[in-house]
């Protein structure tokens, strides 16, 4: 039968010759290969001390963005929660009071915004769904923890600090 690709390999079991049968040359060959690796430069990155830079499209922890005046951009429309395949996002909307204009950009804002990092799969759909460019997955790697409650990130952990 003709094969569709040219990657087909025909296996053949040849009779081993004398040098292959006494096995010692093969062992010596193997020893020389491991010895070559012994003196090779290590590729290890000593993680907590030094970090590799992330790639351009790396998706890490979420952050809720502010506009140029330092007001939160999120308007609690719920599109991120809707688009989330893991259903990790919940939020409660609230109305902006007079005098809070420097805090929230729109009239409606999220008073509670929580992401469960145990459920989140870092797919980035929330980022794509957001009409206000309020959420980006541009943070670090999610940290490990011992308590489940630690993984529910509220606004205190998610909102970007105000740039002075």
């Amino acid at each position: 039968m003709n094969s569709l690709t040219n990657r087909k390999k025909v296996l053949e079991s040849k009779q081993m010759n004398f040098w292959e049968r006494i096995y010692l040359p093969a062992i010596i060959n193997g020893l020389s290969i491991t010895m070559k690796h012994f003196f090779k430069k290590r590729t290890t990155v000593y993680y907590p001390e030094e970090k590799r830079s992330f790639s351009e499209n790396f998706r890490g922890l979420h952050s809720l963005k502010r506009d140029e005046n330092g007001a939160e951009r999120c308007t609690a429309c719920g599109l991120c929660a809707l688009s989330c395949p893991a259903e990790a996002i919940t939020m409660t909307a609230a109305e902006r009071k007079p005098g809070e204009e420097h805090l929230y950009r729109e009239e409606k804002y999220a008073s509670v915004y929580e992401i469960n990092m145990l459920r989140c799969i870092f797919c980035g759909f929330c980022e794509e769904a957001c009409p206000k460019a309020a959420i980006y997955l541009d943070g670090d790697i999610a940290k490990a923890g011992y308590i489940r409650d630690e993984f529910i990130f509220g606004k205190d952990k998610l909102t970007e600090p105000v740039i002075k």
């Binding site: 062992i27 193997g30 020893l31 290969i33 491991t34 010895m35 690796h37 012994f38 090779k40 290590r42 590729t43 290890t44």
Partner: protein, 341 residues
């Protein structure tokens, strides 16, 4: 037998025991470190500088772990197994000559615990006892994997002991003595036995890999088939003893290979050093260098060659090594007839 003699021997014994334990301890670190190097990694490096405190951390971990004795295990034998392993590993060092005599306080101090005239045979005897630790432990665990490992190690050790004994007969035909000290003395300068007995050395080395249960012959603890082998049921320091005994065995068999085939404490231009004490101390250093090189070789082979299948192991032992050893005896005999000693 005066007091000074007893004190001298006591100091020597405790020094040797201490040194062999420390070397075995750091061999565990070296094994993990070198395994890393062979695989382009760095190995353990967190405990202390370059991971130098890792063996201590391992020891503390093993000592503080929970001690479990299975309900249906025979308790006495279960404890006896690892103790025997450790004991037989330690007592072989008694006949190894660590260096030439020292002259201190007007006394001639021999750096060998006991110079018995059947030294080589003593080593064999102790090696053949070593299998009891594994067998008793494996049987007492009341676990079928441990039992299979015990049976395996028994047949493996017995098979390779024969080839080992035959390979050493050729050496003894040349040296004409069974005392390890005399064998070492005969190899002064570069007159090492390995140049006269290359085949014998090869067979002896392969057998000592098998006797110490090191890869490629570590079938008694073959994880892919036997879970943990003979120490499946062991925990805490009893497991530690089994693992540690392997490293002491490695040290001891390196020492024996060095003293039988690689000149022991001898080094070239030894006679040029006039002070006997300095010459002896350099000899001890040279001997330990040789031992450490052999230990490195053990580790190097472990991280290169994969484990044999059990039938391959038996085939190698009975159908290859034993006939080769007999041929080697015949060759040596012919050589002695033609060239004289």
């Amino acid at each position: 037998m005066d007091i000074a003699f007893i004190i001298e021997k006591l100091i020597l014994i405790s020094a040797i025991l201490g040194i062999s334990l420390v070397i075995a301890m750091y061999t565990t670190l070296a094994e993990r470190k070198f395994a890393g190097f062979f695989q382009d990694r760095v190995g353990p490096n967190r405990a202390g500088p370059w991971g130098l405190l890792q063996p201590l951390a391992d020891g503390v971990k093993l000592f503080t772990k929970e001690e479990i004795i299975p309900t249906h295990a025979s308790t006495f034998l279960f404890v006896l197994g690892p103790s025997l392993s450790m004991f037989t590993a330690c007592i072989t060092t008694a006949v190894i000559p660590w260096g030439q005599d020292l002259f201190l306080f007007g006394r001639q101090i021999s750096l060998q615990v006991a110079d018995i005239n059947v030294g080589v045979l003593y080593v064999f005897g102790v090696v053949s006892l070593g299998v009891y630790g594994v067998m008793i432990g494996g049987w007492a665990s009341n676990n079928k994997f441990s039992l299979l490992a015990a049976v395996r190690s028994a047949s493996q050790n017995i098979s390779y002991e024969i080839a080992m004994g035959l390979s050493i007969i050729a050496l003894l035909m040349m040296t004409g003595t069974l005392s390890l000290r005399e064998i070492s003395e005969q190899q002064s300068g570069m007159n090492w036995n390995v140049f006269y007995q290359p085949l014998g050395f090869l067979i002896f080395m392969i057998c000592s890999f098998a006797e110490t249960n090191r890869t490629p012959f570590d079938l008694p603890e073959c994880e892919t088939e036997l879970v943990g082998g003979h120490h499946t049921e062991y925990s805490s320091m009893k497991l530690g003893f089994y693992l540690f005994a392997e490293y002491i065995n490695m040290f001891v068999s390196s020492a024996i290979m060095a003293s039988l085939y690689f000149g022991g404490y001898n080094y070239p231009f030894m006679h040029l050093i006039s002070n006997p004490n300095i010459a002896a101390l350099i000899g001890v250093a040279v001997f330990f260098t040789k031992i450490l090189l052999f230990i490195f070789f053990f580790i190097w082979v472990r991280w290169t060659v994969p484990r044999f299948r059990y039938d391959q192991l038996m085939k190698l032992g009975w159908k290859v090594l034993i006939p080769l050893a007999i041929v080697n005896i015949a060759l040596t005999g012919t050589g002695i007839l033609i060239f004289g000693k």
